[in-house]
Symmetry: C2
Subunit: 340 residues, 2 copies
Amino acid sequence: MSTTRPPLAVFRKIILPELEKGLQEALAPWKEHPATLLAEMVAHHFGWKAENGKPGKRVRPLVLLLVHEAAGGWWHQALPAAVAVELVHNFSLIHDDIQDQSRTRRGRPTVWSLWGPAQAINAGDALFAQAFAVLAPLQETFGPARSLEAVQVLARACVALVQGQVLDLSFEVRDRVTVEDYLTMIRGKTAALLAAAADIGALLTGVEETRRRAFREFGEALGLAFQVWDDYLGVWGDPEQTGKSTADDLVAGKKTLPVLYGLSQPESAFARRWRQGSISPEEAPEVARLLAETGAQDYTREQARRFTQQALDALQAAQPLNVPYEALRSLTEELLGRAS
Amino acid sequence: MSTTRPPLAVFRKIILPELEKGLQEALAPWKEHPATLLAEMVAHHFGWKAENGKPGKRVRPLVLLLVHEAAGGWWHQALPAAVAVELVHNFSLIHDDIQDQSRTRRGRPTVWSLWGPAQAINAGDALFAQAFAVLAPLQETFGPARSLEAVQVLARACVALVQGQVLDLSFEVRDRVTVEDYLTMIRGKTAALLAAAADIGALLTGVEETRRRAFREFGEALGLAFQVWDDYLGVWGDPEQTGKSTADDLVAGKKTLPVLYGLSQPESAFARRWRQGSISPEEAPEVARLLAETGAQDYTREQARRFTQQALDALQAAQPLNVPYEALRSLTEELLGRAS
């Protein structure tokens, strides 16, 4: 590793093309099957065919592979697990878009908006199934016991992820949602898969239990920080940088962390406005200001900071190797510092 | 085993209550999670709360456990795998009902018709994930290598199942579908999971490759026979026994095997009528008669018979133990002879 270029940039440069290749290879057999529509749908979803295909951030597989290095492994050996985690993430995005009736993602039409919800359900299901199928080659490197453990960790994370999604959807139609309810929800919906990614990266090296647990805790706290910061940007992010309109989440009526904090003060100007019904894009900047007045902006920023610190503490407790540690720390700070 | 009662009846009596208990135990933790809606949805789906809860036939887990016995195992040890296979089957039913917009199943409202498609997608996803989670305890009995192999076989079957579902949905909007297209479709949609059930039942015992392959072939052919016979009953089944109205599949406009056979004679009275548009329940018996005139009834019956014979031949080639062999043979004949 060069000392002049930061480790994260170097890792990204080496890892991301291999990961993309791994994803494409995992789904390549679908092109040979008569149900070619499946290959078409996922190639569109991953942006492999689009001119303006902007790939996702690949945070989960990066965390898995960097933790694997940090725990003494060689990232290339854990690649199938990283592919599996990214497949699961994308299964959940495709189903999520159906459930939220979102017509675009990363600036391109969603799978369901092009092929209808019925086939989009299939696209998600197939990625989900493939995630477990691609874990097979792990056993050649890590033996069957650790590979089976990886299957277990991933499967449990998927259950937790879906439970989070159940809660998220139920919040939309529920009157009273507390900040605690919300944290339970994102612990499933966002943090479970990141926790599993870190856990799998660690367990495959055979690292001792306490360090494995610390790596897992790092992943979970990182997931929470990530989601809370996402909520912050959804209200106070710079539209130029988020690529969304101002206070987009307020217009969508999403019960995110700052909103729930604001609503916990039922007499605040924000809460009174919220109860009056939906917010137009024109009104959104003013409502975002009302929300900030409740202290929600400081609170949300503080929570994101707290979870980030928790992540960094856990990471240090996991006694990571030096260079991947630097990369994981940069990734964490980047996710919190990010503007989009 | 008693010689006066047929083995299948005895196995059913012993196995089915344990299987039901296994299913309930696998999903019991969901009741403790804040997303209680998930537990509610699946309890409804499995008919655990309903007065008129008529359980499914549990064909896939029965095949898995009987093959396990037939290959020299003890069924009770393979129970987690049987639970997993039934969870996968039910995930696919729940998503299927959303995709087909079916409002009832086994005489009760479907999950999506009660809780909406968005949450029903979650119910299916959660069962899917749980299927892989419940395979864990297998390793205590069978070791990690065979358990991981079971994960692989199940995951690959899930991909094939979804590919079949993609084809099935695409047939609805496609003009020309051949009998061969159809067989490819049901090889995924119906046969893949039954093949996997037999395969897993066998592989867990460590039986030699050729016998394992024969058991798998048995499962696949059984699945094909099962689906073709289902198609037969969908047109010519006795409404009293199928619980559906006469020639239900014709009214629904489904491109099943007999319909595709009839359409392969574009000048037949049936094909001409089919092209004129949807068929009313009143007209259905007459259209079923026209379809029979093309030879489709004999053809479909003959195909079901052929796949059944294939299944029985493969079963014999697998050198099964005597008593479970009798049970599997009865099950096969029962599925073909069944009137509903």
